[in-house]
């Protein structure tokens, strides 16, 4: 036991002191934050971009009022000139496009014959907002033709909002559903990434011990199983430390970010709040609402499940990675064994993305959340939607059973593999090792 601790400590320190670990831990969150900031900035500025659209309206259904400038579109009326000339003007003055509405008798004909000319393919957002605008007007016209009372129609417009709640009366909303999806997907994805990155790290560390030929010295003092488990656990420790540092950095950046970017919006909310009580409803902005909804989720139990499934999945896969590392002489030889390891992880993530969002408790999602090789990912995606305890327990039980079996097998391969040099290994050979 004491020796296991020594090994864990060495493996942990070897990982943590590594330059690439330090860089990964401290630089990658900065890169992530930078990327997010860039995306936000770019999408903001593209939102703010105003498209200049000229139009030639030869129909009798629209008036100037229907081409009022919006936040994103500035209209120029070129109805006075003919179409060819209008095209020329638009091209010369580098406008974003030309909307052409021909002269037709019926509304139906109009809907099919409106055209948009432009140099480059216009964005979907622009086209759909143009379409919306025209559609609204034409629908109104049509209703007038059909003698429909617009006032009454407006009054009849209802909006059904189904309130979601579970049997114990906890309310939820669609926003919460979105948050659940995000949390579940995020957790599943993090687990997959962690297993791949840190599993490969365990494997590389096994190969390093093999190629540096220290392994026989070590296992004359400790059991191969201790060495393998020490490696697996020590590496997990380094990974958890990295998680922790990232969480802290993320929190700090969030605070700093909201301080720098969110100041005006916060300020406006506060000033709005003070004068009247009526403003209260508006004051609870989206972010605050989301936060309060997140806090309503059973976060603590979700965290516990996350840790348990994470540990189960990581132990399962990293012991396989250790066995692979022991079987080869260098990293390039690992290729043939990697596919079957990464495959179930990928399947887990894709099945999760594809099925859990639509139907968290459907057959596919349920089955894959039971299969031990995909359960850590799929079950964690399902958990925010409320999974019966017996299912979680069963899934966890199967996972533990499997990882015990896999570690046992991996240790057998590892024991033989670490002392085997210069042998091209295939699956048949590995099977033989199990019996040595």
């Amino acid at each position: 036991m004491n020796k296991l601790k020594l090994i864990i400590k060495r493996e942990f320190l070897a990982k943590v002191r590594n330059r690439s670990f330090i860089i990964m831990t401290f630089v990658s969150p900065l890169i992530m934050a930078g990327m997010i900031a860039l995306v936000v900035y770019l999408s903001k500025s593209s939102m703010e971009k105003i498209n200049v659209v000229a139009y030639v309206d030869n129909s009798k259904f629209f008036s100037k009022k229907d081409f009022k400038d919006s936040n994103t579109i500035h209209y120029i009326n070129l109805t006075e000139v003919n179409l060819d000339k209008a095209k020329k003007i638009v091209q010369e003055s580098n406008h974003d496009g030309l909307l052409f509405i021909p002269e037709k008798d019926s509304i139906e004909q109009i809907t099919e014959s409106i055209q948009f000319f432009s140099q480059e393919t216009p964005s979907m957002v622009l086209i759909s907002s143009l379409e919306n605008n025209l559609e609204k007007k034409l629908e109104k016209e049509k209703m007038l033709q059909l003698n429909i009372d617009l006032k009454k129609l407006e009054q009849s417009d209802l909006n059904v909002d189904i309130k979601l709640s579970n049997y114990s009366g906890e309310k939820s909303s669609k926003l919460v559903n979105g948050i659940k999806i995000a949390l579940g997907m995020g957790a599943g994805y993090i687990i997959m990434m962690f297993i791949i990155v840190y599993g490969a790290m365990v494997m590389r560390s096994v190969i390093e011990e093999k190629t540096s030929r220290i392994v026989e010295v070590i296992i004359s003092s400790v059991k191969p199983f201790q060495l393998m488990m020490g490696k697996v656990i020590g590496t997990a420790g380094a990974g958890l430390l990295q998680f922790f540092i990232w969480a802290v950095l993320m929190f700090l950046m969030l605070v700093a970010g909201s301080y720098f970017f969110g100041m005006d919006s916060m300020a406006s909310v506060q000033t709005a709040q003070i004068p009247t009580d009526q403003m209260e409803a508006i004051a609870t902005n989206d972010a605050q609402f989301a936060l309060s909804e997140i806090l309503k989720l059973p976060l603590f139990s979700m965290f516990i499940w996350f840790i348990l499934f994470f540990l189960g999945g990581y132990l399962l896969y990293s012991s396989i990675y250790a066995a692979i590392g022991s079987a080869v002489d260098n990293e390039t030889d690992t290729q043939q064994f990697m596919m079957p390891v990464i495959m179930p992880l990928m399947i887990g993530v894709y099945v999760g993305f594809a099925t859990v969002i639509n139907d968290p408790h459907g057959t596919v999602a349920t089955v894959f959340s039971m299969i031990p090789f995909t359960s850590p990912i799929v079950m964690l995606m399902r958990i925010p939607f409320g999974v019966p305890l017996w299912q979680i327990a069963l899934s966890l039980f199967l996972l533990i059973l499997t990882f015990l079996a896999v570690i046992w097998l991996a240790a057998k391969i590892y024991r033989v593999g670490i002392l085997m040099y210069g042998k091209k290994v295939n699956y048949k050979e590995l099977y033989k090792w199990l019996k040595y």
Partner: protein, 309 residues
Amino acid sequence: MDNILVTEKIVKNFGDFRALDNISIEVPEQSIFGLLGPNGAGKTTLIRIINQITLPDQGKVFFNGNILQPNDVHFIGYLPEERGLYKRMKVGEQSIYLAQLKGLSKIEAKKRLKYWFDKFEIGDWWNKKVEELSKGMAQKIQFIVTVLHEPKLLIFDEPFSGFDPINANLIKEEILQLRDKGATIIFSTHRMESVEELCEYIALIDRSKKILDGKLVDIKKQFKTNAFEVGLVTEEKDKLMQEISQKFEVSKAEFKSLEDDLKLRINLSDSETSTDLIKYLNKRALINHYVEVIPTANDIFIQAVKQNS
């Protein structure tokens, strides 16, 4: 004398291949024991079983009279043939780690390491990474780490490989000193001159079977052929040789001498003795060289392996 290590009918199979077939050896306490054999004979497998790296399929290993226990690794030091260190770890830190794995406390490990580092005058390597050291330097560290926990039984597999003659000699002296202080040494090597020089007992393994073992002196007696090397000062070499060869089995021999003498190797039959030969030769020429041919470890090795095949 007591045996510190006894293996009893060890059998080890790898699939269909039998790597060790009923290997029994006895290693007397405070001796240097040579474990010899051609490549692939099974020496390393046997050594790994003694180190509890591999488990035998059948047979028992006794250490100090008792069945080998997991904790006995603390009393065994092993320098494998395939050896190395963590390249990116510092020398001092790594040595302490390896010593701790052998059951030493950190403080004790540091104290003993200081002694050895001073002795080998390598104190300034402490904070260097292993990858900065030359191969010979790393081998020295490896040797220190192997003996640091003062094991009762030391197993060296090709200990001199990677050392220049000066350092090889230094290591040899250390091994002898360790023996004198009470350690037992199992020594696996292909270098027969070091077997000749160091080993008191040997066991020879060939193709998974032990084909020979015992005290080196006894084995030599067993292998000696009642042959003698003689140098005879004479004017007529050919004539004399012809004459002798009518009575004895004679062949030409090679050895260094100051005279231009007739150098012969004479094999006696079981009924003839050395006295008979000397008497016979003395009558015919001046004997300036007379020595019994003792088989070298090398001869024994080759002969035994040939006989086995």
